[in-house]
Amino acid sequence: MRLVGLALGLMLALAAPLLAQEIEDHRVFPGTGPQLLRVLSTTDLSVFEPYIRQFQRQNPEIGVDYTVMSSATLHRAVREGAQADLVMSSAMDLQFQLVNDGFAGRYTSDAVLALPDWARWRDLIFAFTTEPAVVVINSARFAGLPLPATRQELITLLREHPERFMGAIGTYDVRDSGLGYLFATQEDRSTDAFWRLNEVLGRLEPKLYCCSAQMIEDVADGRLALAYNVLGSYAAEELARGSDGRVQILRMQDFANAMLRTVFMLKGAENRAAAGAMIDMLAGLALRDAPGDWPLPPLGLSDAEQATGLAPIRLGPALLTYLDPLNRRAFLAEWGNALEQGEVAR
């Protein structure tokens, strides 16, 4: 007990510099025993809580210390030597970089070996959801307009109705949001419509957001007509919460990104067994056949999603490309130029 107390104190001491303003949420779910599994995550507590509850049903003796922060903060915290057992993030490029740079500890079990090859990289990092980027629209503000199915149609629509969409478009601020940056760079790589769309968006004085949840909320409230590149899982969650048809999800048929939410064990993890158990549980849920009552989708894509050519972003060293400072600076400059023709509202 004294040792655990000591470790806890040490951890809090080390994590202290982060605690001030960067930690968005933090909660400890006590277990019956002294064990504590420390998780650093970008996933909102409200979304992940059911998973923690399930974990503690299976392992009641293990307490869970869950800390939520942005992907960039999380990335920096790990680099600066934050003490934790598990690191979980939707920014798979940052996650991959941490793993590539040697911050992950090895973990092997039957559960992770059951994952498809593309959902794990070596015995270090494991994906447990596939979450597509989608367009979310407010039905009322789209009244009378045809629903776009491709980026080209979306561009045409925005061009033809500037008055209706002025100041009513939301998208990620890729300077702040790791996930937004990942989606934007992958789109840049995959479709030439990306920059034309950004040009059009730039003229419509878009609102830039850090997070999906806020964007979806604003669409539901009617403050936004359309949010571009929103995490589909959050949007579906919002729909499920009963938005009475105010919100609609559009999937782009020409190309759509799908992000893998990944988890890895920190190299210096103190509670490897508990971390392994959590990874196993997530891997098991990743392979479930029916979506079930879980907030996050499984790894497998539905048939409809596969039909639209939706492809998960590959876990691999190519993810390092856009994290290179020179590349990042160049990309952000270009993105800024495209979007900041008008006054960018922040």
């Binding site: 740079d101 691999g316 060293p317 190519a318 993810l319 490309t321």
Partner: protein, 455 residues
Amino acid sequence: MRLTASIGQRLTLLLAGVAALLSLLSWGMVSSLATEAAARTQDNVLAASTTTIAETLRSEQGEIRLELPYAAFAMLGAISEDRVFYRVTAGGRELTGYADLPPPSPGPVGQIVFDTGQFSGEAVRMASVTRLVGAGADPVAVTVTVAQTRNGVQSVASDLSWLAGVLAIAFFFVAVGLSAVAARMSLRPLNQIADSVSRRGPADLRPLSRPAPADLAPLLSALNRLMDRLRLSVRRSEDFIAEAAHRVRTPLATVRTQAEIALRGGGTPAEKEQLRRIIRAVDESARSAGQLLDYATVAYRVEDLARDALDLSELARRSVESVTPTAAMRDIQFTLDLQSAPVRGDAVLLDNAIRNVLDNAIKYSPEDTVIAIGVRQRNGDAILSVRDEGPGFGDDPPDALTERFRRGANTGGIVGSGLGLTIAAEVLRAHGGRLDLRNREDRSGTCVLLVLPLA
């Protein structure tokens, strides 16, 4: 005979040793080639990645610009799940990447230099290339280094090495199997010669003339020389026997004649009885000498056997005719049941053999009995049977009676040399046949079968 390891075993063991050595060698070679190939693949991809990055280098307003292409790292991810590091320096200044990556060994501009080093706790393979980029007044040497850990190479190499090991072991077992077969095959001529020697009859001392591998020629000619000497020695001893028998027979005839004359000349009954005993002893000796001569003749003629077309029934008839007078003296009758049976052989020898069997039958038959002679064909054999009503062969194994000078246990008081059946058996064997001796089933006499292959 002291047995050492067989040639086949030695050969198999030797070849297995060779196979083991070759398996080991091939395993080692395949393993090192696999490692080499995997390492080269990694080098090639690293080189391609480095070149791809170096090609995006350009200068804009005196500034070195670099845009890492997505493909440069994607291709590294395609070959293995290995960690990737990179570093770009311009004229000694860090441009981007992992600043603590070990610097490459200096190489000529534009040429890719490979290096192996240690980074982030793992062995890495590095490829570097230096390009001159015109920035401002002087061109700046920009060095691009891409490094990758070597787990993929090691796992490919160890997978292939394992596979090569399995194959080498399989190869070894196949090779051992084949070695055993090869050893057996190469020993086959030797075994065949041994077979053909052991299949021969005891009197067959002709030289071996079968084709044989050159390696066996010394063995074969030594064997033939040995057999030649043996044959000569046998011939000499038979000649000696014939000569001796002949020399003995003539004086015996004289002694018999003199004894008969003396017997007719009268004398006391005791003297007459003595003379009769002398005559009987002389008869016995003469008969033995005759048979010894016969035997020598048989041995001589068998060596160069004639193969005339004959009819066994005809031979039997003639032989029976020639012994009828002797039989008649003891009131013994012959019954003949002769079917034609063509055979090939030496008429003199066969006649001799038949006569010896008939003599035997007459000798051992009680007076006033019948001897049944039959000739028939059965299963490709011509069979001459002689059945008498004598006392039978007793309990000796019948075959033993064809040994030289061997006489049955129950021949009590009857004159015989023990050569008769030996001669008959030898003649039949020389003709590819055999002599069967048995008691008649109802124990009412003996049955002798002369079996010859049909022509």
